[in-house]
């Protein structure tokens, strides 16, 4: 077993605790012990805190970085990844690496090892959403193509799901940069345009790798519904999908926290495609 530190951020523990649960579970199944980063604060997000005071942004971020000496800090949020990655780069600590779970799974763990651990393949039709700060600015991130990425598509396929192409795949969720917090109506308008092409594709869910995107999609759909625009497409973090494929019971995914959920998705997650059959 290898050790690393897990930095969960704000939105995962306080809106979608199931993502935190599934991160610990899935990573342990793959041979990684993640230590919780005790005493951490908000990362803080560049769109909000860096927009007010760059030094405050940097000071809070480097405080988080200094809490543990381990080489690897794992994240599961694009915003936390971006802030800690950039602050680490600027502070010039070459020994420490800031990782995002999706690129770590693809590059360090590998598809074969993931497939070998699957006990329940999930025959879902999904729309993947990468989110912005995982990939851009690509000169620093070097995760995947900023225009035509593939890593999340192949990772959902590794657990038996089908990733469907859709025209707004690379469109922003609309929630970042303080837009959802500061100008909700703008965030919802971007979201509506993002989701409209999915209406005819009958996907079982959207798969994200960032809890801010997840919150914007999940709660934003309820807000759009109140305005008479109905999509009803549930949203899962990849870690929730992966942990289910690795055998975690549905009750431990924290699905009660999701405001947009369907029986169809829960049935498919429960049943899967049994390997014995």
């Amino acid at each position: 077993m290898k050790e690393m530190v897990f930095y969960p951020g704000c939105v995962i523990p306080n809106r979608y605790p199931g993502v935190e649960k599934t991160m610990y579970y899935a990573m342990e199944k793959l041979g990684y012990i993640m230590k919780p980063m005790e005493g951490y604060s908000c990362c803080p997000p560049p769109g909000i805190v860096r927009s007010v005071d760059e030094e405050l942004w940097f000071s809070l971020a480097t405080r988080n970085l200094s809490l543990y000496d381990d080489r690897t800090i794992m994240t599961a949020c694009n915003g936390c990844f971006a802030t800690l990655f950039d602050a680490n780069r600027l502070s010039g600590n070459g020994e420490r690496e800031i990782r995002h779970v999706v690129e770590f799974l693809y590059r360090d763990v590998g598809l074969e090892k993931i497939k070998a651990r699957v006990t329940k393949f999930l025959p879902l039709k999904v729309a993947v959403h990468y989110g912005c700060h995982l990939l851009r600015p690509s000169i620093y991130r070097e995760v995947d193509s900023p225009e035509n990425p593939v890593i999340l598509d192949v990772l959902v396929e590794a657990v038996g799901a089908e990733s469907v192409p859709y025209p707004t795949k690379m469109v922003c969720c609309g929630g970042g940069g303080g837009v959802r917090a500061g100008h909700r109506e703008v965030a919802l308008e971007i979201l509506k345009r993002k989701l409209t092409p999915l209406k005819v594709l009958n996907v079982d869910c959207i798969v994200v790798v960032c809890p801010l995107c997840q919150h914007q999609f999940d709660v934003g759909q309820v807000e759009l519904k109140n305005e008479g625009v109905n999509f009803n497409i549930p949203v899962l973090h990849y870690s929730q999908l992966l942990a289910t494929a690795f055998g975690l019971e549905l009750e431990m995914l924290g699905l009660e926290a999701h405001t947009t959920m369907t029986e169809n998705l829960q049935e498919k997650l429960e049943k899967g495609e049994d390997l014995e059959q």
Binding site: P17, Y40, R50, E54
Partner: protein
């Protein structure tokens, strides 16, 4: 440390690249916020380099910082980072009040998005410990000291 960090995030050289803008419009064509709002990065840059009008427009707060414009700019101008820098310049007067609340939350709880009772209950059900600065007195004190040391900016 501050000047060095600021310089590394967006150096003077990078900032000056804005003057090489050829007004091609790739930025606004790539901008998802511009499809829903009046944000027009090309025009902001035009007014700045030709009329010396600061980019202090209220529309800069509609930018979701997706970095599509910066990624695609054929002149390599760090447009998103410039918009964030401009926001910082005008934040004192123009910061949307809800964003102010976010920073107050970090001071109060160590978290921009603090937990509600239902979140704490679900964490218990899932067997998750509470280990953020909110629950560790010494850590919360450190976070507050950092924020208070920047009070003049907030």
């Amino acid at each position: 440390m501050y000047i060095q960090m600021k310089d590394m995030l967006l150096s003077r050289k990078e900032l000056n690249k804005v003057n090489t803008c050829i007004q091609c419009g790739t930025c606004v064509a790539s901008c998802y916020s511009s499809r829903a709002t009046a944000l027009n990065t090309r025009r902001l840059v035009f007014d700045y380099i030709n009329k010396n009008i600061p980019m202090h427009d209220d529309t800069i707060w509609y930018c979701s910082t997706c970095y599509s414009c910066q990624e695609r700019c054929p002149r390599g101008i760090m447009l998103t980072d410039i918009l964030i820098r401009v926001r910082e310049e005008v934040a004192e007067e123009h910061l949307p009040s809800k964003l102010k609340k976010f920073i107050e939350n970090i001071r109060e709880y160590g978290m921009g998005v603090p937990p509600r009772k239902s979140d704490i209950d679900m964490r218990r059900k899932l067997g998750l410990k509470n280990y953020s600065a909110q629950f560790i007195e010494k850590s919360l004190k450190e976070v507050r000291e950092i924020i208070d040391s920047r009070r003049d900016k907030l």
